[in-house]
């Protein structure tokens, strides 16, 4: 009986620690600026894209997927609205939608999904392992959530990353961020 109790205590501790580590992993503020990594992937137009795309202009990164009924289209809609508020200065901001579901979100699927929603946002996909390595490099959480009939949806990080013109992490905007706060963060990024 005692052994069971000891095991339960150890298990509870391990679970708690695991949860803590997961939480740390999800908070970019805790991990400093060491985000991102070199990559070679495919954009939604079938062109090769590398980390150089995130350099030379302020950039916004969002990790999402097309089978996403609310968060992902809302994020794209909000970004467009914020940049419209900023006006001409906002036009220089690059924006990328990197899939966390590369098995289903091929470059073609991404293009069909994104083009009706935005003239700005460029989709990124490619070899699934390489795409997910990029998500890992940005410490983005993603996991398949099984649905009936072998289908699935994704749980994922909903942060929008702000990247400065040297390709470095600059800050982030949370999902559901207050309009004025989000616009202020983008203005700061553009002015940097």
């Amino acid at each position: 009986m005692n052994r069971i109790v000891v095991f339960a205590v150890i298990a509870a501790f391990a679970l708690g620690l695991g949860g803590r580590l997961l939480l740390d992993r999800l908070q970019p503020s805790n991990v400093g600026a060491e985000l991102g990594a070199p990559f070679t992937l495919t954009d939604m137009n079938g062109e090769t894209i590398t980390e150089a795309a995130f350099e030379g202009e302020p950039t916004v990164l969002f990790f999402g997927f097309t089978h996403c009924p609310e968060i992902c289209p809302t994020a794209i809609y909000d970004l467009e609205a914020w940049l419209e508020e900023i006006g001409p200065d906002g036009e220089e901001v690059g924006a990328y939608f990197i899939t966390v579901d590369p098995e289903r979100d091929t470059p073609d699927v991404l293009r069909e999904y994104l083009e009706p929603q935005s003239e700005r946002v460029v989709g990124i996909s490619g070899e699934p392992a390489d795409v997910l390595a990029l998500a890992d490099a940005w410490r983005v959480y993603y996991s398949k959530q099984p649905l009936d009939g072998g289908d699935y949806t994704m749980n994922h990080t909903t942060l929008m990353y702000l990247v400065d013109d040297s390709g470095q992490y600059f800050g982030h905007i949370s999902y559901g961020e207050d309009f004025d706060t989000a616009v202020a963060k983008l203005r700061t990024l553009i002015a940097s």
């Binding site: 939480l23 097309t66 009924p69 809609y77 699927v109 069909e112 999904y113 959480y141 982030h172 559901g176």
Partner: protein, 151 residues
């Protein structure tokens, strides 16, 4: 906006069921979108609990009740199917609204455009099915409606 809200009230089907249906809305998506989200408010006018179990519609083979939980602390979104349906207590209203409960519509067969009409049948345990016409609405208007209702 008042006029739209009024029009939406008219869209809701009059009572044959114990359940009153208000503001049946679908968020607009282009043709070929993999998924779409639907929203509706359901009020149990009867004396017994009612369970909202699902939807039949020509719009999609498969429509499920899903719940999204956005955890602010970790900036992460989790999604789950509400498999056993939504129980509505007598006199209570359950609202499917943005960033919470919604109808998850898989592979919609038609474009959901601003003002487009999509008939559906809402299914219940403990109440008669209700035929409802859902209307396409943009995110911008959906948010205006939400603010008017103080949510």
């Amino acid at each position: 906006m008042r006029a739209l809200a009024f029009a939406l009230t008219l869209l809701a089907t009059p009572a044959l069921s114990e359940v009153r249906v208000d503001s049946p809305l679908l968020r607009t998506v282009p043709t070929g979108a993999p998924v779409a989200a639907g929203y509706v408010s359901l009020t149990n006018k009867g004396n017994d609990p009612v369970t909202f179990t699902g939807v039949d519609a020509a719009l999609a083979e498969r429509i499920e009740i899903h719940e999204m939980v956005a955890t602010e602390a970790s900036d992460m979104m989790r999604m789950r199917e509400v498999e056993d349906g939504l129980v509505i207590a007598p006199g209570e209203t359950v609202r499917l609204a943005p960033d919470g409960l919604h109808l998850m519509i898989f592979a919609p067969k038609a474009e959901i455009a601003e003002g487009s009409i999509h008939p559906m049948v809402l299914l219940f345990d403990g109440a008669e099915p209700v035929e409802v016409e859902f209307e396409g609405i943009s995110l911008m208007k959906l948010r205006e409606l939400g603010r008017e209702r103080g949510s």
